[in-house]
């Protein structure tokens, strides 16, 4: 992308013109999504399929994909909604960039991520390996980071992007831990095999709970829900996609994928039920009084996925079936509502409910389409949404009376906030100026509305999709029979009760207002978002303090390495037994030559410490080097000695040459004499700690040479590697990979030096 940015259009009037040109990368993504949709559909009709490639066989990792029922459901959602949202985005993004006076080439910072988002979702839906699932799971988080932060000039967008990334990625680590736990217990990462092998046990419960944590954070469930409303800083197409078919859906997708594992433990299922119910209520109550369009929808998403999590918590065929169906119906409705919000904001320039109203007359097509989408979410008859609630009520009734009451409350809240949203936008006295609404901003909403109504009339295809998906989650065939029944069965009564209660909530705005505001204030004061912000600030402060200490000057940055190393070594020595660890050996033979050399090293070191002139320091350093090279030669390491001599010679030359390039005058000493004394004392302490630690570790090591060290093995194998010089064979063969990395570093280092010194290599 850097390259593309480098080739940006010349500044000037030309850009404006280009801004309105056809957004072909967007259309390309749209076409790809459509093709993916067709493939998913064909694959489903053909009965699915699977393939696996070896990935890292030594770790038992496989790139295994399967197009089962669950994969088809989420694949169709990701590509189908994706195609519509991308088509919408081609127009939206151009307008968005135009409004912000940004160049049209910034599309290239948008569409690749969008396309990758879709690919990651399809990959996640089809992946059958837990580690692969984790990879795609995090890939969606990375994509969302760049998309939420697309308006990078705005602080709000940047912090929101970071928050979404941190919350979901940190929680996703739980999934990796779960994968490792399960692998340790059952020896495989493959999900179908794990489902077959894992019996109810403490490990299974723990792993299931960890998987649920990762998934719930992704699906923005209480108490990790706070990132989602903030993520509304993203451009509307991103929000529409993220809420309905991608990011947030990824969480419940994972729950659906590993549901049989979660169902091994009643506690985990109950946990899901509780978290889901809490999210339904918190999201719903907060959605009732939000003013910003997208905020209403964001809290509604928390609440809606709360339903799904609740239904997965109920478990069984009914719960799983209802959850799958719900995801489908919600995806259609929610993406339509987001695109409605985007179209309204583009047309009027307003993004608050309180400043909008009466758009019904002026944008009738949008009003009707958005009405259908709202009705779908509110579960009115003749839309596919009616059946989602019917299935919910059936599952809840089967689970117990408390759950049934919760389901009615949830449906009532949904009815109320969706009703308020649509009513405030399209009914009432006209408010705000209305510009033109481009066709492309309305057409996708209409298409989704048509789908919703079609599903309300002929529900069979939707039900079959959900049945197939639920079959995977439930671990057995699931039969769903959503239909209209004109009788007084419990489901119908519950629906009527929910509409009545929702209507009452709409009719009593003042009471609702007070409750919603109280919840919002409580959330601000003691909510998890505050905890998150405090944690991030504290981390930031700690890191800054540490950094300031470390980089104050050259001495502190050297001390920052040496002192902690010395302290750690000291701790290690304190913790290990010292009996026989420090032996004073006999001095024999060549040792009498080594001793004076080491004395020379000591003298040279003292000279380095006290010398004022730079040249003296450089020369004393080389004395240390040559003396040590001689020691190597005497202890029988001629290879090392040769390299040490030549390198030391070169180093001295380079050192002297570098000194010649430095300014002749010494830097002025700071006047504060006490500071200098303190610093000198500090230097002595730092040097002492590091020196004593190294001395002790070297002494300990030489006192107890390991009996069967790896070097014996090296020596044994050297003839087999066609060599007789062990060192060369180690460098070129046994540790060859290390050598390759080291020489790469060498080149990188010299490029760095050259760039610093003269900004070019030659």
């Amino acid at each position: 992308m850097v390259v593309i940015r480098g080739g940006a259009a010349p500044p000037g009037a030309g850009q404006r013109h280009r801004g309105s040109a056809v957004d072909w990368p967007g259309w390309l993504a749209c076409a790809a999504a459509l093709a993916g949709f067709a493939l998913c559909l064909l694959g489903w009709l053909a009965g699915g399929g699977a393939f696996a490639l070896p990935w890292a066989p030594s770790l038992d990792l496989e790139l295994s994909f399967a197009l089962d029922g669950l994969a088809v459901l989420y694949g169709l959602l990701a590509t189908g909604v994706g195609a519509l949202v991308f088509a919408y985005g081609t127009r939206y993004l151009s307008l968005h960039l135009e409004h912000q006076r940004r160049q049209a080439v910034e599309r290239w910072r948008f569409w690749p991520w969008m396309a990758l988002f879709a690919v990651a979702m399809v990959g996640l839906a089809t992946a059958q390996d837990l580690v692969l699932v984790f990879v795609f799971f995090d890939l969606t988080a990375v994509c969302s980071y760049f998309l939420i932060g697309f308006d990078r000039a705005e602080r709000e967008a940047r912090t929101s992007a970071l928050m979404a990334l941190l919350v979901t990625v940190v929680a996703a680590v739980a999934m990796l831990v779960a994968a490792v736990l399960l692998y340790a217990a059952h020896g495989t990462f493959s999900i179908p095999e794990l489902l077959a092998r894992a019996a109810p046990s403490a490990t299974t419960t723990l792993a299931a709970a960890l998987l649920a944590v990762a998934a719930l954070a992704k699906s923005a469930q209480v108490p990790l829900h706070f990132w989602l409303p903030r993520a509304m800083a993203a451009p509307t197409p991103v929000s529409a996609y993220l809420h309905s078919a991608a990011m947030v859906a990824a969480g419940v997708l994972v729950i659906g994928r590993v549901h049989p594992l979660l169902a091994r433990s009643e506690a985990v299922l109950t946990g899901l039920l509780v978290v889901g119910a809490a999210s339904v209520v918190v999201g719903g109550v907060l959605a009732l009084r939000r003013d910003v369009l997208k905020q209403v929808l964001a809290y509604s998403t928390i609440s809606q996925y709360g339903y799904v999590v609740m239904m997965y918590g109920m478990g069984g065929a009914a719960g799983n079936g209802a959850a799958a169906f719900y995801v489908l119906a919600h995806g259609v409705a929610k993406s339509a509502l987001f695109m409605t919000a985007g179209a309204v904001t583009m047309a009027t320039g307003e993004d608050r409910l309180s400043r909008l109203g009466g758009l019904g007359r002026r944008a009738p097509v949008l009003a009707v389409a958005a009405g259908v989408a709202s009705a779908t979410l509110a579960a009115l008859p003749l839309t596919v949404g009616f059946f989602k609630d019917e299935l919910l009520f059936t599952a809840a009734l089967r689970h117990g009376p408390t759950t049934a009451v919760l389901a009615v409350v949830a449906a009532a809240l949904t009815f109320a906030y969706v009703g308020r949203f649509w009513g405030a936008l399209f009914l009432g006295p006209p408010r705000g100026r209305v510009g033109s609404t481009p066709v492309l901003l309305v057409a996708p909403v209409v298409v989704l509305a048509v789908i919703a109504v079609a599903g309300g009339l002929v529900v069979e295809p939707f039900a079959r999709l959900a049945e197939d998906a639920a079959g995977v989650s439930a671990g057995g065939p699931v039969a769903l029979s959503p239909a209209y029944h004109l009788d007084a069965r419990a489901e119908n009564l519950m629906a009527l009760a929910a509409w009545a209660a929702g209507g009452a909530l709409l009719a009593l705005p003042r009471v609702v207002d007070r409750v919603s505001r109280a919840v919002a204030v409580a959330g601000e004061r003691a909510g998890p978002r505050r905890a998150y912000e405090m944690a991030v600030h504290a981390l930031n402060r700690a890191s800054t303090a540490l950094h300031d200490r470390e980089v104050r000057d050259l001495r502190t940055s050297i001390a920052a390495v040496l002192v902690p190393a010395g302290v750690l070594i000291g701790l290690a020595f304190a913790a290990t037994p010292t009996a026989g660890a420090y032996v004073v050996g006999a001095v024999v033979g060549a040792d009498w030559l080594i001793l004076p050399l080491l004395a020379l090293v000591v003298i040279a070191t003292v000279v380095i410490a006290v010398a004022k002139a730079r040249l003296a320091v450089a020369l004393a350093l080389s004395v240390v080097g040559f003396a040590l090279a001689a020691v190597y030669a005497l202890v029988g390491a001629p290879d090392v000695a040769l390299v040490a001599v030549v390198v030391e010679t070169m180093l001295t030359l380079v050192f002297v040459a570098a000194l010649a390039r430095m300014p002749r005058a010494a830097p002025e000493r700071d006047a504060g004499a006490p500071a200098r004394v303190r610093r000198r004392r500090r230097d002595a302490i730092a040097g002492g700690v590091a020196g004593v630690a190294v001395f002790a570790s070297v002494w300990g090591f030489l006192s107890q040479p390991a009996p069967d060290s790896v070097s014996a093995e090296h020596i044994r194998l050297t003839p087999a590697a066609h060599g007789s010089d062990v060192v060369t064979v180690i460098v070129a063969d046994f540790r060859g990979l290390d050598t390759l990395v080291e020489i790469t570093v060498l080149l990188v280092a010299v490029v760095g030096v050259a760039t610093l010194a003269r900004r070019r290599l030659w």
Binding site: P638, V646, A660, H722, A732, L746
Partner: protein, 154 residues
């Protein structure tokens, strides 16, 4: 480093020796590489020795002088990069054959063609790569530090 010339020019002997030194050093380097697998020495040491032989020329002739006398030095960056690529290739070519990296050919135990102490097998390429890299890198370093300051400015 001080360029040769008005202020304290090195005498003729030094200049001649400096100019001639790189030639023999190449022979020493070749020797080190050839018997590297059997005796002391390897590509790295050989590379530093050649660079050490080049260094006096920088002292004696100055950066411009040495680069005029030995125009071949101009290719040092290319030599460094080429050496790295050669070494990496010698390490990673087994991946193409479906083997772990740094598995050498001929494999352990198989027959190796020998010319005196020189053994013809893939670690030799690694050694030559390291040698070229080290010569290139150190020459670039000498070049960077050897320029008189007025030219090295920004």
């Amino acid at each position: 480093m001080r360029p040769g010339g008005r202020d304290g020019a090195p005498d003729a002997v030094v200049r001649v020796v400096a100019r001639l030194l790189p030639g023999p050093s190449l022979m020493v380097a070749a020797g080190l590489i050839a018997k590297g697998y059997a005796e002391v020495g390897d590509g790295f040491a050989a590379g530093v020795i050649v660079a050490l032989a080049i260094a006096p020329s920088y002292v004696a002739l100055g950066a411009e002088g040495v680069e005029a006398a030995l125009p071949v030095l101009r290719h040092a960056p290319a030599v460094a990069v080429g050496g790295l690529l050669l070494a990496l290739a010698s390490g990673f070519f087994p991946l193409l054959l479906g083997e772990p990296p740094v598995s050498h050919r001929p494999a352990p135990g198989e027959h190796v063609v020998k010319i005196g102490a020189l053994e013809l097998f893939t670690p030799l390429l690694l050694d030559i790569g390291v040698f070229l890299l080290v010569v290139g890198v150190l020459t670039v370093l000498l070049h960077q530090f050897g320029r008189p300051r007025r030219e090295g400015g920004r």
